[in-house]
Every structure is written in C-alpha cells, then in structure tokens.
C-alpha cells in the first residue's frame, strides 16, 4: 500500500479533515468501551502503571481476544493461560508489527523473489512452486519477540511494554531456505541474507523493516520458509501466506509475509540492524554471534536465552493446606534443549526437579509440572528455574540492557495455603 500526496487538494481542508478523523478516533472510544474494566485485563505484574490505562482484551479479525498493547501497528499479547498447552493455538498466537501498512496478501498474487549480488541465478516463486518445488519439512519451534518481558525491566525502558506473552510455540510446515537458495546458487563471497516482508511504513522516510541473517544461519536446516502453522495456513496477523522460521533465534528475524530474500556480499546497515535489536557486546552468555554486524559496543540479538514461566498459577492464588497442589509451566531456550526445571516452594532456599512433559524437539516449549503438599497454612513463595543442555540457567537478577531484551529472571509466585 503506497500513499501518494494527491495534487489539487487544499492543504487547509486536508488538515481539517485529518484533525476531525483523529479527534473522532480519540473521543469516540471511551464512550463505547469504558464498560470494559481495566481490571479484566490479565496484565503481568511489574509492567508500567500507565499500561493498565490502555491495555484491553480485544480480538483482531480471526483472533481470540488477546491483550491489546497498541492498535496501530498492532501489538497483541497472548494471555498466560494459553501456555498451559504446549502448542499455542493460531488464533491465540501473539501479534507484533513495527510498521502499520499491512497489506492483506493474496495467496494467488504472492511471490517470493530470490536475488542479491551473491546468487548465481535470481528466481521467483509463487506459492505452488515453493510448495511443490522443494522437500517439505515440519518443525516445532518457539517464536519469541526479542522484547518479551520488556515491561518487567527495572528501571522500565521504552518500547512495547510486553509481559510474559509475546511468544508462542507452533508446528511449522514449509521448505528449507537452504534448499531454495541452493537452487539459485550461493556464491562463496556471500556474507548476509537480507529479508523483507510485504508490510511497509506509513511515511516513506521511516526505514522499511528489512532484516538480515548471517549466511550460515540462513543455510541452517532449521531455518525454513513456512506456509503452515499447526496444520493450517498462517493467520494473516502471523505472516500469511509465508514467513521465515529461524528456529532458536528471536522473532525479529522471522520475517512475516516474506517477499524478498537477497543474498549479498555486504552487511545490511539500516536502522533495524545498526541501531535496533542489539545488545551490549559480551553482556549475555550466548553462543551464536552475528560477526559481520558486531562491534565493540553492541551486537545483534541472536538466540533466545533459557527461560521458563509458570502457567497455571497466579500471585496470591489460594491452595489447600495438607492437600497436593500442582504447579504447571513451560521452559524453552535457543535450541539446545531443556535439561532440567527445578522448583522451589521456599523462595529459593531449596530446589527439587520438576517432571518434564512431552518432548516436541529442542526448539519447542517443554512442558513441566511439580506437585507438592503444603504442610501447614501460610504463604509459599514458588519459583521455577530452567537449565538447558549446555548448562545455562535463568538469572535471579535482571541482566539490564537499554532495550529490555533477554529477560529470563526467575519468576516468583506466592501461593497462599489455608
């Protein structure tokens, strides 16, 4: 969708109309919606106070009511209870956009272009050619926004103030990017693979949301162009008709409505690579490095840190003294797999292993559960801590960074036995 200034429209009239449109948007709202009490919105404890005044449970077309953080661009968070299931339903899967011009892409008209100065043979595929031209693969993988839990930063940092729910886990079906690129012939000088989707900015001067991957990650067998999610076509708001799955890495690289894959000999130096989605160099114990984009001060975010969340209990929830209580949750990481989840019911003084549930692969949520019987009435501060197969664990103190990324602080939920 492009917007071109139309000649011949009087500026003053233009302004008046724009003003009226804005004013009606602002004034019409509360009279219609004030009945929706803010308290009904299941916000994550610790998010900024101001969030409560704008967060709403609202449904986008084709979606269940999710926690609306911003209307435009649409940013909607998945309520915690959906994570009681290991696969996140498509209609409850979180929505995250940077740019507000989001076209409804038709499957018939969609094309994927492979180009760049480091491919031998540029190519173009329609959906059928992509589906039929390459081996189809399935992969269960977590898609988590880099900024998930940003709203819990201490001190707070600017941005979309996500709680726990800017993530989801799905069974993706598609074709390997490496197979598609092999058909075009990747030159040995290839450095980065640039990715663009169909959404565009409102203002021409806003940088288009183009991202890049190091060639080695683009050629990983777990990087796929997906056209199905949990056995269904992708929902519009999750990238229909095709999006990239970069298993293990944060959502910023999972280009939605993907239209262009350019294999280049040069680094992408736009705002979204050079200024955004970066963490202080050396701050996090991560394995994957995006070397061509790294400098002494900062480095692109890469794989997800090991993390967990309790899904069936809320702070202050009542349980029965002398009766077994079961705490359920999920754990995940950047693709090494979960080794153990330990649970404490005494604020971290002692820990016992939880029972791990169904294993859908190393990129998936891993469900877990832990049962205990509170011996007497009182408050039980419950904590859960995941460790992955390379020995990395969640932190107890926030590893603060200015963009609020990689928050894997161990959660504390007080259960009250009576």
């Amino acid at each position: 969708m492009t917007t071109t200034p139309r000649a011949g429209i009087d500026r003053r009239r233009f302004l008046a109309r724009a003003g009226a449109a804005t004013a009606s948007a602002v004034i019409a709202g509360p009279t219609l919606r004030s009945a929706l009490a803010d308290s009904a919105v299941p916000l994550t404890p610790g998010t900024p106070d101001g969030l409560a005044s704008v967060a709403r449970l609202e449904a986008l077309p084709g979606k269940k009511p999710l926690i609306k953080l911003s209307y435009r661009p649409p940013n909607y968070e998945t309520p915690l209870e959906y994570f009681n299931d290991v696969l996140t339903p498509n209609d409850a899967f979180f929505v995250r956009y940077h740019l507000a011009n989001i076209p409804e892409v038709s499957a018939a008209e969609w094309r994927l272009k492979i180009a760049g100065d480091a491919v031998e043979r540029p190519a173009e595929y329609d959906l059928a050619a992509l589906k039929n031209g390459f081996e189809q693969v399935e992969l269960v993988a977590v898609c988590q926004c880099s900024g998930n839990r940003r709203g819990l930063s201490v001190p707070h940092v600017q941005g979309v103030e996500w709680g726990y729910g800017a993530m989801g886990n799905a069974r993706w079906r598609g074709v390997r990017l490496k197979d598609v690129l092999a058909k075009s012939g990747v030159k040995k000088e290839a450095l980065e693979v640039w990715l663009n989707g169909a959404e565009t900015p409102i203002v021409d001067k806003t940088p288009d949301f183009v991202k890049s991957l190091p060639v080695w990650k683009a050629l990983d067998e777990n990087t796929i162009i997906a056209f199905e999610m949990n056995g269904q076509p992708l929902p519009h708001y999750n990238g229909f008709p095709a999006r990239l799955i970069v298993a293990g890495w944060t959502g910023t690289y999972w280009t939605k409505h993907i239209t262009n894959v350019d294999v280049n000999t040069k680094s992408l130096t736009n705002f979204w690579m050079a200024a955004a989605y970066r963490v202080p160099t050396g701050k996090f114990p991560l394995v994957d490095h995006f070397v061509s984009q790294e400098n002494a001060a900062s480095t692109p975010i890469t794989e997800m840190v090991v993390n967990s969340v309790m899904t069936n209990v809320r702070d202050g929830q009542r349980i029965k003294s002398g009766k077994p209580a079961t705490v359920k949750g999920i754990a995940w990481d950047g693709g090494y797999g979960i080794q153990v989840v330990e649970v404490s019911t005494d604020a971290g003084k002692s820990w016992r292993p939880a029972t791990l549930g169904q294993d859908l692969g190393r990129f998936s949520f891993r469900p877990w559960s832990y049962s205990f019987t509170p011996p007497k009435p009182g408050t039980y501060p419950v904590m859960a801590k995941a460790t992955n197969r390379i020995g990395a664990s969640q932190t107890f103190v926030l590893n603060f960074n200015p963009a609020g990324y990689h928050n894997n602080v161990v959660q504390l939920v007080n259960l009250v036995a009576a």
Binding site: T3, T4, P5, R6, I9, R11, F14, L15, R17, A18, G19, A21, T22, A23, S24, A25, V26, I27, A28, G29, P30, L32, R33, P48, D49, G50, L51, S53, V54, A55, R56, K68, L69, S70, Y71, R72, P73, A100, N101, P155, H156, Q158, G159, V160, E161, P201, I202, V203, D204, K205, T206, P207, F271, A275
Partner: protein, 93 residues
C-alpha cells in the same frame, strides 16, 4: 508543510475504519492537539500512556528526536516543543 506530511494525512484519512477502532484517550492539556496531529500519523496513541510514567522530560525529548529523525516523521520544530511540553506535563515520572 512537507509533501510527505500530506501523504501521512492521506493515510490517516484513507483508513477511517482503523482510526475509529482506536479507543485511546489522552489527558487534556496544552499541546494535546499537536500530539494527536503528529504522533497518530504513524501509530496509535496508546504508545504514550503505555510508556508512562517512567520517562522524564529528557527521555521524552530523546523519544521525539528519535521519531522525528531515524523513524522519519520529520516533526516541525514548533510542534516538537509543544509535544515535549505536553508529554513532560502529563506523562513524565
């Protein structure tokens, strides 16, 4: 007014349905009109209360500069002053 501002306004007008679905109320105060006129071109206004109250005046100023610069909004300097005064008075911690 620069050409692309007209483009922005056209975008706002072109999608009245989207605009009407945005139920966001900002606090009344001097400069609110400049906020609505500029900020709502690219994003709904819920971004402002959501990011409160923990930014101080200097951080709101940096935000406006970021929107005007890297994000390409090209906010008129007089409007930028009004916006800053409004945000500092109503949404700063």
């Amino acid at each position: 007014m620069k050409a692309y501002h007209l483009a922005l306004l056209a975008a706002v007008i072109a999608s009245p349905a989207a605009a009407q679905d945005e139920h966001v109320v900002l606090k009344d105060g001097a400069g609110k009109e400049a906020v609505e006129r500029n900020c709502s071109v690219c994003h709904s206004l819920d971004y402002i209360p959501m990011n409160s109250k923990f930014l101080d005046r200097a951080k709101w100023d940096a935000t406006i500069k970021k929107m005007s610069g890297p994000y390409g909004a090209g906010i008129d300097p007089d409007d930028a002053k009004e916006i800053l005064n409004y945000l500092a008075a109503n949404y700063a911690g």
